[in-house]
Structure formats: C-alpha cells, structure tokens
C-alpha cells in the first residue's frame, strides 16, 4: 500500500545518486516535487527524461542536483532554449547521454518486461549511436539479410516521479491517456506521485477510470500538491502559465538570475 505523505517528506525519500525518470512537458510533470527535491538538496542524480525534458530538468541542473542526464532533448518549447541545461553542457559540468525518443521508450519497455535489452530500428550511422558506449549493434540473428540492428539495454529507474490529477485512498492513481506515465511506473522500482486531489471512491471499481489508472502495486508514495505542474499545465485542469515560463527563461539566462528566481518560486507553497 502506498504511503500517504507530504511533499517535502516525499522528497526526503529520494536518495542522492538515484536514477529518477521524469515525464515530458506535455505529460503531468511534477514541478512542485522537483522544487521539493531542490529544497532537500538532493545530489548527483542520474536524471532520465521519457523522452524529453523542459523546465523540471533545467531547474534540477541549475540547482546542482544532477550528475548525469539522459534525454532525447531538453527544450522550453516556444519559450526557447533551456538556459541552465545549455550552459551545463557547454561547460561540461554534467555528463550528457544524448538519446533519441524511441530509444528511451524502448529501454523502459524492456524493463517493463523484465528482459535485459531490446532492439530498435534506425540510429545506424548517427553520432547519437557513436557516442553511446552502452549500446550495441548486432546482425539480426533471425534474418542475416535484415542487416545491422541496435540493441539497447533495459533502463530500470529507481524512482518514477510523476504528477496526476487524482488518486484514491487505496493508492491507485488516475493518469488517463498519458500512458507514458504507465510505462515509466511499470519500468521503475517504485513510483512517487503528487496529486491535485485524493478521492474516496476506488478508481479501479469504475470502468470509465480503471483503464487509465496506475494500480497501487506500482506506487510507493503519494503527496498532495495543488497546481503541482505549475508553471506547466495539467490537461483538463489548468493551462501552462506561458508568461511565467518566458520569465523563467529570461531570468535563468544567468546563474545569479536563476538563483533569484528559485528563491521566490522554489519556496514551499
């Protein structure tokens, strides 16, 4: 049974050096939980995005929490480039594992199935592949005429960290059609969830919600965090706060500006 706790206590349970997977900006990003991790002073994270990141990654990098980053891209969307990410890579202060979207999905799917690796098309001849010592190329053992194919080792994150609109008192979490969250949770050892609200009715007992529900067996901890995606949006609840995101990109163009921003918006709410 999932532990019901507070946001800052949930952050206390994330160990230094943990491999954490976070969702992309269109999919329930737990920004309030990321702020709590920064307050807790977490260090040397291996941060994985499934498959691309935005402000959550930029915040953790700017706050010095990240040792290794794996993603297919880090972008602030229409607001531009991610300032703390770009500087960290340009100055070599984080180790960057450049990937491509389906490679991350596939490596998580391998972990979901409990198999050690999975193949993926594409990639041959790219510098993405050339810079990944952890990936291998083999000849299709079933059909020699099929040519070379890339093998990706499974990625099993220590923690999947997600936000959701709703959980029930039994620890089930409703994610709707955002199924990448399901893959992340299946693949990870445990999943920590922040939610807008907790309801009494069991989500699995209603067919309309059951198919979009992450069952309690995957969930380690749940904390309430109203507007937990801010300044990003949560589909069906609230839109992204575009002005706040633009303001962040501008202020975080310098480390000093970033720290000022964090002092104001990173405090407990």
């Amino acid at each position: 049974m999932a532990l019901f706790t507070t946001l800052d206590d949930l952050a206390q349970q994330v160990a230094d050096e943990a491999l954490i997977v976070l969702p992309p900006d269109y999919s329930n990003v737990p920004v309030a939980a990321v702020m709590a991790l920064i307050r807790r002073g977490v260090k040397d994270l291996h941060l994985l995005f499934a498959p691309i990141g935005g402000i959550a990654g930029d915040l953790l990098i700017g706050a010095g929490c990240v040792k290794t980053l794996e993603a297919a891209a880090i972008t602030m969307g229409e607001a531009g480039l991610a300032p703390r990410f770009s500087e960290a890579v340009q100055t070599n202060t984080i180790a960057m594992l450049d990937s491509t979207c389906p490679a991350i999905h596939t490596a998580l799917q391998a972990s979901e199935k409990g198999v050690p690796f999975m193949p993926l098309r594409g990639l041959i001849g790219s510098d993405v592949l050339k810079n990944r010592a952890d990936w291998q190329v083999i000849v299709d053992p079933f059909d020699k005429n099929d040519g070379p194919i890339v093998l990706l080792p499974a990625i099993q994150p220590d923690i999947a960290l997600i936000h959701a609109p709703l959980a029930d008192r039994d620890g089930n979490v409703w994610i709707g059609k955002r199924r990448e969250l399901m893959t992340m949770a299946h693949a990870a050892k445990t999943t920590f969830v922040t939610v807008e609200e907790i309801q009494d009715d069991n989500l699995l007992e209603n067919d309309l919600t059951a198919a979009g529900t992450l069952p309690d067996m995957y969930v380690g901890a749940i904390a309430e965090a109203e507007k937990g995606c801010w300044p990003l949006g949560l589909a069906g609840r609230y839109p992204a706060d575009t002005a706040a995101i633009m303001d962040y990109v501008e202020q975080a163009s310098s480390q000093v500006g970033f720290e000022e921003w964090l002092k104001i918006y990173g405090a407990p709410r």
Partner: protein, 246 residues
Amino acid sequence: MNYNQDEFLICTIASLLETSRHVAVGMASPFPGSAALLVREETKNQIDGLRLSMIGGDANNPFTDGGRELFDCSGQGRIDTFFLGGVQIDGQANINLVGTGDYPKTDRRFPGSFGSAYMYFVVPKVILFRPEHTRRVFVPEVDFISAPGTSEDGVYRPGGPHALVTELCLMMFNRERKRFQLTSVHPGHTVEEIQDNTGFDFDIPETVPETLGPTDQRLRLLRTQISPEIAKTYPEFVARVFETTV
C-alpha cells in the same frame, strides 16, 4: 490576394503533401501542422484523404498509448510523411539538432536529437523544413549527425529525406545521387542568391521555375478554417501569422 511569407511557406509545404496518406507532425511544428491541416481539409471528402496525427498538444492528437505510439506506428509503416529540421543541414541531408562545435563540449548547445535518429529511417517521406537559409545552417558537413541523410546498402531504411523547404527555395533530395536538386526559387529570389547562401553543392537544372504562390481558394481556407484549428495547438503562432492578414 496578397499573402505574407509565413502563409507562403505553409502553402509550399502543403503542395508536397498532396499524395500523402498519413502525415505525422512532431513537437514545435506549427508550419507543417498548418500545411497538413490545410490538405486534410481539402481532401476530406476523398476516401483516401489525408490522415493527420499531431503530437504537439491534445488537438488533432489521436494517440492513446503514450509517447511511444507515434514511433511504434512509424516503425510499422503506418505513417508515410513526417517533418524534421536542423540547427545544421548538409548536402548529404545529414541533420544536426544537438549543437555546433566539438561534441560533447559544444560551442552552442541546442535541445537534442528528439526522434530524428529513428523517424528519418522509417518514415518514407521526410520533409526538411528550415526557414533560415544561410551558410550558418546549410553547411558543408554537420558538426554532429543526429540522423544521417543516407545509409550504406544493407541498412534497413525504408525512410529518408524527400524535400527541403526554406525561405528562399524548394529543393528535392535525390537518394541515388545523395544530393539535393534545386526545384524552384521563391518569388523575389534568385539562383545566385541561393548558391551564395548555401554551404554545400547541389544540382541546378538548366531552367529553374519560380515556386507557385498559394491560390486564393487555399489562402481563404487557411485564414478562415485552418487558423482556428492550428490555434488549438499553437495559439501564439496564429496570433503572429494571421494578425496582419485577416
């Protein structure tokens, strides 16, 4: 009817989609999204009309199995047209979305390769869209290959580059010759101007026509029916492009 450059580019992309059956549009792609919506509307009464799947937001996004579904669909061959860009693009249609300088310590870091290292291989018709036509973008050789334009024999590759649309011209990519060929020059520009601003060699036929501008009918459709539809995914883009023309 008068039109602005953005409308012209949307319609130029649309002219490349007329035989497409299932177009997918990736993140942060308002021009391709507008073009695909336009052709979908124009072909909506045809049994083989254009199907569109956009992942930039919830509107026109049919996927229900998470971020992987677009890639799984593409790997199966269900999607025939996709769009990519590039911080740098070279004459072999290699694209770089990662950054300039010596990787990994880049001089200027950009977001990353996204799904390009896969989609470029599996989607038959990939249209490269990069408005800025300068030697900074169109280089002799990219600094980082996010996705190669061509592959050696024996590599599974049903997909690859089809065309390149810029603010100056339209080029088609010849996979046999592994080179771009200039197809048409946008009104007000010249072949010389394109050569001056392109850092790689490309084929130039003896006569190069001017790119056709949009028909009045297409422009009207774009402004009246497509702009509110694309606004569901890209509100700021619509405010910028159509404010001067409606």
